[in-house]
């Protein structure tokens, strides 16, 4: 019988992409212990003068993202918007995609930046299109 061993290592690598903009590779779990690291690293990239045109987070080797991990991504998105940088979440694993969809953040944290957000367009407000209340019983 084999048991699954979770690799606890967490690592962030910042490289320049072909356009010279920062690209942070995330390896491991983004959670209580590690979320602050990512916020700091990304904030350092966004704090450059001038701010980069875009910032990419490569999630190909992201193993888990909990609520604090998501809070970190939202904080990075907020800071990116403040300095006019386009934030991209590349290579999102299905588990991350699912969290973004449940929490309604997939259009803000889009694969190709907030402007396009082609993966999950905002859903229509069903409150106006939903089934009408059944008539009261008497």
């Amino acid at each position: 019988m084999t048991t699954m061993h979770h690799d606890d290592s967490f690592d962030l690598t910042t490289v320049r992409d072909e356009a010279g903009d920062p690209r942070i590779g995330i390896v491991g779990a983004l959670d209580w212990d590690t979320a602050d690291d990512l916020t700091r690293t990304a904030s350092a990239c966004l704090g450059a003068d001038p701010a980069p045109r875009r910032l990419s987070l490569d999630c190909a080797r992201l193993t888990l993202c909990d609520s604090l991990g998501l809070a970190s991504l939202l904080m990075i998105q907020r800071r990116a918007a403040e300095v006019g940088t386009l934030l991209r979440l590349l290579n999102r694993p299905p588990s991350l995609q699912r969290i973004l969809e449940i929490t309604g953040t997939s259009d803000v944290l889009a694969a190709n930046g907030a402007e396009t957000g082609e993966l999950t367009p905002p859903e229509p407000d069903r409150a106006t299109t939903g089934a009408p209340l059944p008539p009261p019983q008497t």
């Binding site: 048991t3 904080m75 929490t103 309604g104 059944p134 009261p136």
Partner: protein, 537 residues
């Protein structure tokens, strides 16, 4: 007689020549200093210590080779004596003054004992985070190793000072209104100032409370030393010795301070921990989920299992706000706050209070969520909450629900035939983004049907045969299919039981579930002519 030369007289080590009968033949200059009366012809036993006289007798009888060397005290000196055989049966005693070495060895031994004591004291002091126990250990150790009795005066809580006194292995606690100025140096020590020298304190002037009951005999000497805490004083320690014991010397006073520094750190940690657990307990009491009940023909049942990391106040919550009358909607909320600990607890409290205040606006979930989001947004962080709102009203046998998810797993509906449906609602999490959107779904429950609200602690529970599989939504749906027609309490218990079994002993996040069930046997709870017979299914 010149068995030795003039240079021998000036040798740097004492040497003594003694004949076989035990009479001194000659002593060199150094030996003359040690034994001033050892002149030629004097009997060794009259001028030298007994151990040397006896060693000489054995050296004469058995030969110097078999004797080796001997050692002993002589006045304030400690000496080693090496015999060699001289001419005419004389024995030459070569003496080495090892007083300094002995003193150094003694000092080393005492240092080693102190180090061992401090190591032992540290481990005993740090073994407990209970303030009283920590005071006890401090007093016990001090009374056992440093003094005949010890009194620990903790900083005043209100107008009284907690005291721990110990002597003869017994420790007692008191809480007394005392005037620290009665003991010289105590008021200063309680403020963290350095201790006053022991010789300045008059033992006879000590107040009664400073001498523990059962202290045998008058107090001979006193040391008052501060217990330094983390930034603030953790109290002061009074050490007492009986008058028949040696008074505290300077090195003992210094050592008492070293011990007090460790005791102070331990006490301070215990006190901080006590304050922290007090705060956590207060918050927990405020955040505990409410007991749920039947409201206007609808059963509400909730279950909450906090994460095993018990020091962390949980992030899951639920509430039910009953409608004012049978024709008013009841609002149920179940949510999950990002993170753990006090920050999560504070955010949870804020959400629950804000929602309570926004109850009159619950007619439009989207509007309510936008207001809540605005109230929670802060520039400092992006900690967020996800939640589900359920507005419930029963009309006759039909229970109408408006359900809205704000970034939360959608509720599941259990129909009477065992089918399980996913509520068609979704939305944005609350508290992190400037704009939120949501979609509300409307549905109807027949008597016996249930809507289950849950947090992801249920679906993300890691367990199973190998302990590494998530419980998942499909297992939850399968479990719910078997709950068709059950009362709300039973559904909650069933789900909790299955998740507990799945988890076994694995670590888990907070787990919260709430069942909203249309009651099967609704009785008339209000009869006002309009509503008569409304609940008969």
């Amino acid at each position: 007689m010149s068995s030795v030369g003039a240079s021998w007289m000036r040798a740097p080590y004492p040497a003594l020549v003694v004949d076989a009968a035990g009479a001194v033949v000659e002593a060199n200059t150094r030996a003359a200093v040690l034994f001033p009366r050892a002149t030629r012809g004097a009997w060794l036993e009259d001028v030298a210590p007994r151990w040397l006289t006896e060693a000489h007798r054995r050296a004469v009888a058995d030969g110097t080779d078999s004797l080796g060397h001997v050692g002993g005290e002589h006045g304030e000196w400690s000496l080693e004596a090496y015999p060699t055989t001289g001419s005419d049966g004389h024995v030459v005693w070569w003496l080495v003054d090892d007083t300094d070495r002995l003193l150094a060895e003694r000092a080393l031994r005492s240092e080693q004992e102190r180090t061992a004591f401090l190591a032992d004291a540290s481990s005993r002091l740090l073994a407990s985070l209970n303030t009283e126990r920590c005071m006890e250990v401090t007093v016990e150790l001090a009374a056992e190793y440093l003094a005949d009795a010890a009194v620990l005066v903790a900083p005043a809580t209100g107008k009284r000072h907690p005291l721990a006194t110990g002597t003869g292995g017994r420790v007692t606690h008191h809480s007394l209104r005392i005037d620290p100025a009665m003991v010289p140096g105590l008021a200063e020590a309680l403020q963290g100032f350095p201790p006053v020298p022991s010789r300045w304190i008059d033992p006879a002037a000590l107040p009664g409370w400073a001498v523990p009951e059962g202290f045998a005999g008058p107090v001979g000497s006193v040391v008052v030393t501060p217990l330094p805490g983390h930034g603030v004083s953790a109290g002061a320690l009074i050490l007492l010795r009986r008058s028949d014991q040696a008074v505290f010397d300077a090195s003992e006073e210094v050592f008492a301070r070293v011990f007090a520094a460790r005791a102070g750190a331990a006490l301070s940690a215990a006190r901080l921990y006590g304050e922290q657990t007090g705060i956590t307990a207060t918050l927990m009491a405020e955040l505990l989920p409410p007991a749920l009940r039947q409201v206007h023909g609808v059963e509400f049942a909730g279950g909450y299992r906090a994460s095993k990391d018990s020091e962390r106040v949980g992030g899951d919550f639920y509430d039910v706000h009953p409608g004012a009358g049978t024709d008013q909607e009841t609002l149920a909320v179940l949510g999950d706050v990002c993170g753990k600990g006090l920050e999560a607890a504070v955010l949870t409290g804020k959400i629950r209070n804000t929602l309570h205040a926004l109850l009159p606006l619950a007619g439009d979930h989207g509007h309510l969520l936008r207001l809540l989001n605005g109230a929670l947004l802060t520039s400092r962080h992006t900690r967020f909450a996800t939640l589900v709102l359920a507005s419930v009203r029963r009309r006759g046998s039909a229970t109408h629900l408006r359900l809205t998810s704000a970034g939360h797993p959608a509720p599941l509906i259990v129909r009477n035939d065992g089918t399980v449906e996913l509520a068609d609602t979704s939305g944005t999490l609350i508290g992190a983004l400037p704009e939120v959107r949501s979609s509300t779904t409307h549905l109807t429950l027949r008597p016996g049907e249930t809507c289950l609200l849950y947090t992801d602690g249920v679906t993300e529970a890691h367990g199973g045969p190998l302990g590494d599989t998530m419980f998942g939504e499909s297992r939850l749906r399968a479990a719910l299919a078997e709950c068709a027609g059950m009362p709300a309490e039973a559904v909650v218990e069933r789900v909790q039981m299955l998740v507990s079994q799945w988890l076994d002993d694995n670590r888990h996040d907070d787990i919260a579930v709430m069942a909203i069930t249309a009651a099967r046997t609704a009785h008339l709870t209000a009869v006002d002519g309009h509503t008569a017979g409304r609940y008969t299914a």
